[in-house]
Symmetry: C2
Subunit: 465 residues, 2 copies
């Protein structure tokens, strides 16, 4: 792992993080990394993914390990590899060596954890086996991460406070993830002309991510059916006239994510109607990014996306009325039913394991309004926050064919005009935007958004078949 | 999913399987598919992998479903997608539709399972949440799959009997997995000359697998440190003089696996010592494949691999003595510590979740002998069995530097001569071999094994960087 050679900076980053944690929380903290989940049999597990909270304070994806944080000190708990494992897995670094790399004060076997347990706060991990061990070792109930209680809730609040704003160590990883994601999208665009299936474009993108020793940060979306928001099928044929919606992001070895969406015509050529709607989405994307700066409410950015899209749809004759009235009645949500974006960090929806604790300012809760219920972030922006900006336009049959929906919005939608745009099922444009002291920086800016530039990249791919 | 269009053949295959099961077992059977395991938060899970036993009788990778088999009849239990899911996941086929495709007699919601539970046999799934549900619904203890008891053990034996020998439906899938795996290896060879990291070769292979809408059947090995048998790190630089050991296999959407290893020089050119040892491994590979036919004991094939490799090592002056004596004292295991192969099917080590129940003939148990303890299959071969043949030569420091080992074998190893082969850390050559009525068929025969042909493929890759 590359960070092994970079031990001073890793150890320094981790020390700073736990010292800041100690300022926010008196209780000692015990965090587990988790274990591999078996796939079809125990010796054939899914790839290991350490708990993000563990990664934040321990830096390395150590399997079946725990850390104990107290007063800014760090102790590492993990067992040495069993003697037979050297044949199958090679020589592993000893726990003491790893402790040195991450700047831990000491290393102990896992059997030494229970004496530290009294009074320790924790966050529930995702794998069930380790979750059961957490409760057993702490000798108390551990609530699921999205419903923390008592000192665990205090810990969750403190961790959310820290993880909301990224430090230099985090940004270095996040920039790497963004750079590889940009290259993957370019490869996907270039692969499209010769691809027959969605899967072929996905394969070309996976090659780039895997070649950089990274992996997918989430189940990628590579689909001609962009109207299905989390479409994870890749078997459709690419047909002339289709738009391909591609939402794929890389994750570094240390767990830091990127999250990018582009939408391009499979032939490289937008139809006039596709181009019109693409530019509506792009206008919202650009306006929202322009607005990102410290102190701005993320909810206001969502509102700006709604208003910008609504204006564009009015201009195209798809919606009728005053923009402010239309947004007030959630007419935009007919076509843009999700939120403008979310936090990004060690998780693609950062800290979503904690429910809305990280995403929503204390005292705020999710709206149940049609256009707002999927907004995952509702806080004033601060320097160091990394957010996605991802407006989209979709023709979702379950919304647009719903009789109640059609009745509610019958006066404001020009259904005949809308029908002329039937070659657009889904368009989304998403970038990763860092809030800086001065304003913002788009970490994924190297990937073009303009329709002409996208088309050029697609057309530059040879027809290899 | 392609099989959806091929419903007659799928339904027929599944009917035959459950009718044969009914001939072997009186008890009704309840099998669960399992659920996704969360990765870093619940909405970001690992890819779904249905339980292999479920897949065998239900054909499709249905999430959170169960089947009930009785007297050759099939009932499907799954819930309709909740109303809100259509926005995120699109329109899903209704349970009744799926029942039609797989030839089930009826479909019910999961809430209808408990009345069927009394007297039903089952096999424990891998994901813990579903495993707990199995015990709850059956209202009894369910032992882990590798330690089945009572009627569950009867079921495991019956399923092993069926799954040991592949039917036409299985073979069609296994051939697809093999064909894509062959293409992936060729792509890996061609990508090597321009690759800097192991990861880049892995990326080129993943592109092929993903482009065919398949996935890795197991955590692939792409390593210049072949002496670590299950090396899952990909960050090493490819250096002139290195051999790259690549063990990667594709799995079809329906869950059927391939498992192939090749070893090639990163420059395309074997050194004389590499070539000598490559040919020793290849001789064992070829001799073992020649021996595969119905009635032959798989253990005898392992013995043949040991003898052939030993003869080769004697010829090279690395071992000294009579081949039969050397094999008797497990001298081959110094360099070939694993077994000659294993069953292959829905799992890359087929049915390994059942422990050795499928791999070992009734009444046989694992040897604890050095050269035999990792042999995963010990049965007479039957038509329809698919096995791997995968001899290897490794210089494992943990074995060759072990003082007890060196003392035990001091008279039979020429350590000075061995030192001349220090540019070989690991070589393995693995193919997927089907036992036929007449003898055998290598499903992965389209991928060359001869050193010249391998070298040619590597050299045919352009130096793209």
């Amino acid at each position: 792992m590359e960070t092994y050679s970079d031990r001073n900076s890793l150890a320094t980053t981790l020390r700073d993080r736990r010292q800041r944690l100690a300022q926010l929380l008196d209780a000692p903290v015990m965090l587990w990394s988790g274990q591999r989940s078996p796939r079809n049999f125990p010796a054939n597990p899914f790839p290991f993914r350490a708990s993000s909270h563990f990664l934040y304070f321990a830096g390395l994806p150590l399997e079946n390990a725990a850390i104990y944080l107290k007063d800014g000190k760090l102790e590492l708990f993990m067992d040495e590899a069993p003697p037979g494992s050297i044949l199958w897995h090679g020589e592993m670094p000893k726990p003491e060596e790893i402790a040195g790399i991450i700047g831990a004060d000491a290393a102990f076997p896992l059997s030494e954890l229970p004496p530290r347990a009294p009074g320790a706060a924790t966050i529930a991990v995702q794998d069930v086996i380790t979750y059961l061990q957490q409760a057993q070792i702490l000798n108390r109930r551990v609530a699921p991460a999205n419903a923390t209680e008592g000192i665990d809730r205090d810990l969750a609040i403190a961790i959310a406070t820290l993880r909301l704003c990224h430090d230099g160590g985090a940004l270095s990883e996040l920039r790497q993830a963004a750079a590889v994601t940009v290259e993957a999208h370019k490869a996907g665009m270039r692969a499209t002309k010769s691809a027959q299936l969605e899967a072929a474009v996905r394969g070309a993108m996976a090659e780039v991510i895997i070649a950089h020793n990274m992996m997918d940060a989430y189940g990628g979306i590579v689909t001609v059916h962009g109207e299905v928001l989390h479409n994870e099928q890749y078997h459709h044929l690419l047909q002339p006239g289709d738009l391909l919606l591609v939402d794929v992001g890389a994750e570094t070895e240390m767990g830091w994510a990127s999250d990018v969406t582009r939408t391009w015509p499979v032939t490289g050529k937008f139809s006039a109607t596709q181009r019109d709607l693409y530019d509506v989405v792009l206008a919202a994307h650009d306006a929202c990014i322009d607005k990102v700066r410290p102190g701005v409410e993320y909810g206001d950015i969502h509102l700006l996306a709604a208003a910008t899209m609504t204006q564009g749809l009015v201009d195209l004759g798809i919606l009728r009325g005053q923009v402010s009235d239309l947004v007030e009645m959630d007419a935009h949500a007919l076509f843009f039913p999700h939120g403008i974006g979310h936090l990004l960090g060690l998780d693609v929806h950062d800290m979503e394991d904690l429910g809305d604790l990280a995403g929503y300012e204390d005292g705020r809760t999710r709206s149940d309004r049609f256009g707002w219920c999927y907004l995952r972030l509702n806080r004033p922006l601060q320097p160091g926050m990394l957010v996605t900006i991802e407006p989209g336009f979709y023709q979702v049959p379950a919304i647009l064919q719903d009789s109640e929906c059609r009745a509610n919005y019958k006066d404001v939608v020009n259904w005949e005009r809308l029908a002329q745009f039937s070659d657009v099922r889904g368009i989304r444009i998403e970038d990763d935007v860092l809030v800086t002291e001065q304003g913002s920086e788009v970490l994924t800016a190297a990937l073009p958004t303009a329709a002409e530039a996208i088309a050029e990249l697609v057309l530059s791919g040879g027809n290899l078949l």
